[in-house]
């Protein structure tokens, strides 16, 4: 075995260490430790001259282990690993002792701080004795990207990546891309029409030579790891020949079978064969098999659409024989942008949603104000009466321990938008019931101010209930919004013709399953968890899988787009590098010891170990691209066959026993 020759370097860090720790005494002590051939102190080890000291000693004194005692390794371990590497050693033959954050900055007794520093240095010296050279590996990255979700986030991310001439597969569950944004009428605070800014983007996505659109499709299975994911997508049967459909919509016009239109938030009907909305991309029809009488009767009833389709896109074959198709994709990175669900306010019975015709959710009101919507943009009651007064209720399901603790971030602003539109389009009296006005974005506060000037009645109070039980003549035939005006300190009853509930944005009802497919964790509120809330907001704990938009938390369109571009940037930086660097400090199996019992396979959150048959016996085999080096497999391994490189039992126990020596 080679002789271990360790160099120890004590940093003064100006006076931040040297002012508390006796660095001369510490340096002298370090030199007395086993296998230490040199020990030096220096004012700033991280400076170039400091680093040069180490490099010089490696060459001249033949050092093969290095310890630096300075600040936190979270700060300068990478620096000194690089120094050691530049000096000609493997970067893992290095150990860092934290005598600043964990010592000189938290203790003032010089003697005890010096003693503690000695312990920490001794532990580092004994640990580094066991260190082994490790090699980081690079594997090629498949440049193709999978984007899940065809809302504004998914589209933006797909376009950014595809514009760089990289292949993107965009998978959308619904028959058309567009997402929630396509349903919106106007966008705050600029009040530009949502469709006007969205549909050109949808068209770009639809025609982009580098984007392959898979609508009416869902991802069923993801295997592999960063750089090399294998994805199975279920392309649901549309029951039409996609290549022939020209989107003429004749089939829908003549189809006799109706149901509530999803796009119109249930405020209008669609047919069994339909195109979700006028600007749908792709502009082709889809058949709702559950509703289609021809399919349900196995070809015995109806068949109107077959007769009408000149293009030959709908035939008995497509209706009866077409089945779901499984498409297999290979990609290197994945962006998940699956969006949100609108909170269903009917779970709050005192608000009367679904009980009173004119209590609406935000999305329903969006369709009402939309010129292409069910009322052609007229703000009228369900029975067609003009609306003279409107109550807008904020925080429905948000900022409420009973439903969602969080703020949904967009409701204040869309509530203000409705107030403006109600004034502008119906000249209605508007009552805005709020707890706090949160108008934080660009131009948002200004919009609030403008609305105040437009004569909107702002009532600070959480609405207690909405009722049709009139107490006065004035209230007859109206909906009465009951609340305390907390600024006046009195109960008020406001009779209105229509109430809009600013419903919360909540995690998709299937977020748990989607999370499992892509190995993304969820927060307690159900949304997907980012790797770091501040410093890594679009990454997930699974390398190569990014999140964008409302699947991560409620946010408005500008933030969603920014996040989508951030996620695209993450994917693009991987693509431009072309390879993936694999963590070196990962688990390794001693196959002579391993029983192949599978406990490691069972516990791993990343599916890195797999029990396989080698030479006729079962052994665990670790997928190095999946392993993150968390070490849980080594804890459950009954035999001691699994070790985590750089965190081996020998290394940690050397440190522990060194700390108990003094």
């Amino acid at each position: 075995m080679e002789e271990i020759r360790t160099g120890v370097y004590i940093c003064h860090c100006g006076l931040t260490i040297a002012g508390v720790v006796n660095v001369e005494e510490l340096t002298e002590y370090a030199e007395s430790l086993p296998n230490v051939v040199v020990s030096r102190e220096y004012r700033y080890m991280c400076s170039d001259p400091g680093q040069d000291l180490i490099k010089k000693d490696i060459k001249e004194l033949g050092l093969n282990r290095v310890v630096v005692a300075s600040c936190s390794p979270r700060m300068h371990e990478p620096t000194f690993r690089k120094t050691v590497e530049d000096g000609g050693l493997n970067p893992y033959l290095y150990e860092h002792a934290n005598i600043r954050e964990h010592c000189s900055w938290v203790h003032d007794d010089k003697e005890l701080a010096t003693k503690k520093s000695k312990d920490l240095v001794r532990a580092a010296v004994k640990r580094v004795f066991h260190h082994e050279s490790l090699v980081t590996r690079e594997i090629p990255l498949n440049p193709n990207v999978l984007v899940i979700g065809g809302g504004i986030a998914g589209m933006q991310a797909a376009l950014d990546i595809a514009d760089g001439h990289n292949k993107v597969y965009l998978v959308e569950r619904d028959p058309s891309i567009g997402g929630h944004m396509a349903q919106l009428d106007r966008t705050f605070p600029t009040l530009d029409c949502s469709e006007c800014i969205l549909t050109p983007k949808m068209g770009d996505v639809g025609h982009h030579p580098f984007i392959e659109l898979l609508t009416y499709s869902e991802v069923e299975e993801v295997s592999g790891s960063i750089g090399d994911f294998k994805v199975k997508v279920r392309k649901k049967a549309r029951h039409i020949d996609e290549s022939k459909c020209i989107g003429c919509n004749l089939c829908e016009e003549k189809c006799p079978w109706k149901t509530d239109s999803e796009f119109e938030a249930g405020m209008a009907k669609r047919k069994a064969v339909y195109i979700p909305f006028a600007q749908a991309i792709p502009n082709i029809a889809v058949v709702d098999a559950d509703l289609c009488a021809y399919i349900q009767s196995d070809g015995k009833k109806c068949g109107a659409c077959i007769k009408l389709c000149d293009a030959g896109a709908i035939t008995p074959e497509t209706l009866l024989k077409q089945t779901d198709e499984i498409v297999e994709l290979e990609v290197g990175t994945i962006i998940v942008a699956t969006g949100y669900d609108q909170f269903d306010p009917s779970v709050i019975p005192q608000y009367g949603y679904k009980k009173y015709d004119n209590v609406l959710t935000g999305l329903e009101f969006e369709r009402i104000t939309c010129a292409a919507g069910p009322t052609e943009g007229k703000i009228v009651t369900k029975d067609g009466r003009p609306v003279e007064s409107i109550g807008i209720v904020h925080c429905v399901g948000s900022r409420d321990e009973n439903y969602h603790e969080y703020c949904s971030r967009v409701c204040c602003m869309y509530g203000l938008k409705y107030a403006h539109l109600s004034k502008e389009m119906a000249n209605a009296d508007v009552y805005e019931f709020y707890i706090d006005m949160r108008c934080f974005g660009e131009g948002y506060e200004e919009f609030y101010k403008r609305l105040s000037e437009e004569g909107v009645n702002f009532v600070r109070g959480k609405v207690a209930r909405i009722t049709d039980e009139a107490q006065t003549d004035e209230e007859q035939g109206k909906l009465i919004v009951v609340s305390e005006d907390t600024l006046l300190g009195k109960m008020i009853r406001v009779p209105v013709d229509m109430v809009i509930l600013c419903s919360a944005l909540e995690a998709r009802s299937d977020a748990e399953n989607v999370g499992k497919v892509f190995n993304i964790n969820r927060r307690a509120d159900g949304f997907f968890l980012e790797r770091h809330v501040k410093l890594d907001p679009v990454a997930t704990p699974t390398d190569g899988v990014y999140i964008a938009g409302c699947c991560e938390a409620p946010r408005d369109i500008p933030d969603t787009v920014a996040q989508a571009e951030a996620a695209a940037g993450k994917a693009l930086s991987l693509i431009s590098k072309g390879t993936v660097t694999l963590e070196a400090a990962i688990s390794t199996v001693d196959e002579a010891i391993c029983h192949g019992c599978g406990r490691c396979e069972e516990i791993c959150a990343f599916s890195a170990p797999n029990v396989v048959t080698k030479n006729g016996t079962l052994v665990s085999s670790v997928n190095e691209a999946l392993c993150k080096g968390c070490g849980s497999c080594a804890v459950v391994c009954p035999t001691g066959a699994i070790a985590i490189k750089h965190f081996t039992q020998d290394e940690i126990l050397a440190q522990v026993s060194a700390l108990t020596e003094a």
């Binding site: 196959e591 029983h595 406990r599």
Partner: protein, 381 residues
């Protein structure tokens, strides 16, 4: 001490290099890298490091399959034990299973100041007496209980069954509240210092308690007290395995065992069988339970094969093969239950039968239980 001293002490120089030990060794059958003959040869040729620093030194099961067959009567297990002492001094302690927790616990138990809570499992249904001169050895069972829950083994369940059986035989034994590990594993892995300290603690407590007889449900404790303690500590009491304790009371003392319909086979633990020669007592107990049909494995009695791991070291892929082959042999008898008389055998067999991934397993899923469990169930009202 160096290997030379160990050679002088254990006399492997009588070795004829016939290789019978290796050919009969259950470990060598699965691990071509392990050869008792080769190890002796290396020792005799002065390749001390090859013997002492090699982790394979800890693969020997000290099962005593080889020694009775050796034409020169070389006591290979004792040679290995002594060489391990030297290995420990040189930083080689084999690969400790369960990350070395059990070895650590034994060392922690050498401390004089500890006040263990090792009898909290005792309940109203158990009858014990501090005036009794019969001691029931509880050993490591309270420690095994949480550690081996993962393999669905209850070591305390064995102790409780032993106690229940003793009670139904009219014996209310004494239990010691601060008993230590017997030191068996420490001794056999060459940690002699720990062994000596544990032996001294235990002997002092037993002397103080004035015990005349100790009953063991663990053959390792039994072996250690009977064969190893006398060289280190002064103890003057009879020691007995549970099976012997019950066997001598069959037909007397009113031991009534109810009918238990079961086809069983029996694993002779190495310590109970080859180390101490107790083959008949457990079989006699089994046969005394009405309805029990005992079918022997192909290798039984002195030819019995070890459960595959000893002293929680080098529980490697070869031990596992050995273990699954043994389980297959047990299954081949057509028995539904494998009876052992040693908690360690049960730990190891259950480990193999609780492996994950049902679809790829080749290990038979036999029911495994201790003789004491079976007997206690048969004494039940």
């Amino acid at each position: 001490m160096n290997l030379e001293d160990i050679i002088q002490k254990t006399k492997p120089y009588y070795c004829l290099e016939c290789g019978k030990c290796t050919s009969i060794c259950p470990v060598s059958r699965y691990d071509p890298g392990f050869t008792p003959r080769g190890m002796i040869e290396n020792a005799l040729l002065g390749f001390d490091d090859e013997v002492v620093l090699n982790r394979k030194l800890f693969s020997c099961l000290t099962c005593y399959t080889c020694q009775p067959e050796c034409p020169s009567d070389v006591d290979f297990p004792v040679f290995v034990r002594e060489a391990r002492g030297l290995a420990q001094d040189n930083g080689q302690s084999g690969v400790c299973a369960h990350s070395g927790q059990l070895q650590s616990l034994a060392r922690l138990m050498t401390n004089p100041d500890i006040k263990q809570n090792r009898l909290e499992w005792l309940s109203g249904e158990h009858r014990v007496s501090d005036d009794s001169d019969v001691l029931l050895w509880v050993g490591c069972a309270p420690y095994f209980e949480p550690i081996f829950r993962d393999v669905e083994f209850s070591a305390l369940g064995v102790i409780k069954s032993t106690l229940k059986t003793m009670n139904s035989l009219g014996v209310e034994p004494r239990l010691l509240p601060n008993e230590r590990c017997c030191g068996h594993d420490a001794l056999w892995t060459g940690d002699f210092e720990t062994f000596r300290k544990l032996a001294e603690h235990n002997a002092a407590q037993i002397r103080e308690a004035g015990v005349k007889k100790i009953v063991f449900s663990c053959p390792e404790g039994y072996r250690t007290f009977k064969m190893d303690y006398p060289a280190h500590v002064k103890l003057d009491c009879e020691v007995q395995h549970f099976s012997e304790f019950v066997a001598e009371r069959i037909g007397k003392n009113g031991l009534k065992l109810k009918e238990t319909k079961k086809k069983v086979t029996y694993q002779d633990p190495c310590r109970l069988g080859r180390h101490l020669g107790v083959y008949d007592a457990p079989r006699k107990v089994l046969e005394s339970i009405p309805g029990i049909e005992l079918v022997e494995m192909r290798h039984a009695g002195p030819d019995s094969i070890c459960c595959g791991t000893s002293a929680f070291t080098n529980c490697d892929s070869h031990s596992n093969l050995l273990r699954s082959e043994r389980l297959k042999e047990a299954a081949a008898t057509g028995a539904e239950t494998l009876i052992t008389a040693c908690p360690k055998c049960q730990t190891h067999f259950r480990c193999a039968t609780t492996d994950r991934g049902e679809e790829r397993r080749s290990t038979p899923r036999l029911e495994i239980m201790d003789l004491a469990n079976l007997v206690a169930n048969a004494t039940g009202e």
